[in-house]
Assembly symmetry: C2
Homo-oligomer: 322 residues x 2
């Protein structure tokens, strides 16, 4: 059994409950909302975030109902942001499945995203935990502000600080919240909650770095989008940053560093150069360092089956190929 | 001093605090988010909802900080729904001012709405009241579902049940929440909270009925949109319902009742017929009945300056001309 299957397998019953609870959020509402929710659930990914929440919560003795609520709230928050993202990007496919906006009008897509936000907030409130609700709304703010900054910003600059800030907003903030909220509903002490939070943060940063690496070297059919998309959109990610740093005299690297526009041929050359350099390996090593720090934080938490599964989850993140 | 000025005047300091707190929600974020918030605040209406919350909360002894948080959360929730609404409708003006989507890209407008939702949820959480947060997310669900039903539904049918359901979702639900949440943060007993909730509900229903009347008889320049817009969009509101009921043999009324499409000339004739009939007066009488029930509920609440202001607010709702 490979690592993916193994940590997911240990929470597969709970993940089915998460999907059931997601589906129930649309029950009794407009038939098209129910259809949208079904579509989104069937197009769903590996449910890494709720798996993380459930494992952390079970490790820390969370009450099952509150844990299910917050795990589902987090997955729905993630889903709602993807619905609006795909609309804004005009993406017609996600994970090889048609997006909502590929089938629906922009208006219906905006409102479906809003509906899912509303139901996610309701589920977060059902934890009856004020700190969880504060964390939830804070995380939504971070994610949305990150998207606004990316949309309205000038072409992304080739600097590490803005890269780390961007991947925190985009991905690590919700991983952090997935683990932290689990500690909150478990009434964990401050030190435990902080270790859980750090674990989530570190593996979230690693998750996005791997995503960014796969945008260079992944299999287009498996990741479900064209390779090199980030660079073509002017988004500078870690492999490109490593390449710029290690090839200061390369003419393409200079263009990138100076934020110059490149034509398609130049971008193709740069993509090949990055793929052929050690930038991918260096980026991977960096993701592994994040995971190592995540695992270090995990070690202070109770040794149990769930903790081992969380270790596997962390290792899966850097091992995955899509 | 007319009634509008009088009830607003009694909370003008608090309403200024609401606007300040709205503005502060964008502080430290992307400059364009701050600019959007400034634009939305300066284009803001009469702030009837936060005025209602503040008056109800002061009447019931709410802690000032929590009251300010929830009043601002409610106004921001309202603002965020308007941002997405205007985008979906393609409206370029609201209250005579340019909408956000008139100036910004659709993507930036979607995300700004999301940002305001997120900050509204954060403010709701700052009341530290789980019931308030549950009510808040429930209300957002009701509003969004109402919009989805209107957007995806077939042409609105000429029946009262769907009309009342629609104006509850669109307007009365948030008025209800404005009063109810004020009672919740005041730790009011159940009977008091129920009277406050009913007051909010009744005047909210009246508010939307008057809006729907003004769509027939209002001054286009004052209400800031063309008269008869609802009917032209196939939205059947109370004056049209009254007309259909009292003119069963009128050919236009029959077309409307049967949900038939009408051309512009037919709609113009129907608009004139409705305006010249007693449908407007009957609709107004119905709004007055809602207000009377609202006032009845108010009478069980503590007699004080704020209660008198809430009476004025209720009377203003049926007296207003825009």
């Amino acid at each position: 059994m490979n690592k993916t299957v193994s940590f997911i397998a240990s929470v597969q019953d709970e993940l089915r409950e998460v999907e059931d609870l997601m589906r129930r959020q649309a029950e009794g509402y407009h038939p098209d909302i129910r259809a949208a929710m079904d579509l989104l659930i069937s197009a769903g990914g590996k449910r890494v975030r709720p798996a993380l929440t459930i494992l952390a919560g079970k490790m820390l003795g969370a009450p099952p109902d509150a844990l299910l609520s917050i795990a589902t709230a987090i997955e729905m928050l993630h889903t709602a942001t993807l619905v609006h993202d795909d609309l804004i990007d005009g993406s017609l496919l996600r994970r090889g499945m048609p997006t909502l906006n590929a089938k629906w009008s922009p208006g219906a897509t905006v409102l479906t995203g809003d509906f899912i936000f509303a139901r996610a907030a309701k589920l977060a409130a059902e934890t009856n935990s004020v700190p969880v609700m504060k964390l939830f709304s804070k995380t939504l703010t971070v994610i949305v502000e990150g998207e606004i900054a990316q949309l309205l910003g000038s072409r992304c600059t080739a600097d590490r600080e803005s890269y780390y800030k961007r991947i925190y907003a985009k991905t690590a903030s919700l991983f952090e919240t997935s683990a932290w909220a689990a500690a909150m509903v478990s009434n964990a002490d401050e030190q435990t909650a902080e270790a859980a939070r750090r674990y989530g943060y570190e593996i979230g940063m690693a998750f996005q770095i791997i995503d960014d690496i796969l945008d260079f070297v992944g299999d287009q059919n498996t990741i479900g989008k064209p390779v090199g998309g980030d660079l073509r959109q002017g988004i500078v990610t870690l492999p490109a940053l490593h390449y710029v740093e290690t090839h200061p005299n390369d003419s393409y690297a200079q263009l990138l560093r100076d934020g110059e526009c490149m034509n398609n041929d130049q971008i193709d050359c740069l993509l090949t150069a990055i793929r052929d350099s050690d930038a991918i390996q260096r980026s991977h090593a960096e993701a592994e360092q994040y995971v190592a720090r995540g695992l270090e934080n995990l070690r202070s938490l109770p040794a149990c089956a769930e903790r081992y599964a969380l270790e596997e989850l962390a290792e899966y993140i850097v091992d995955r190929k899509f």
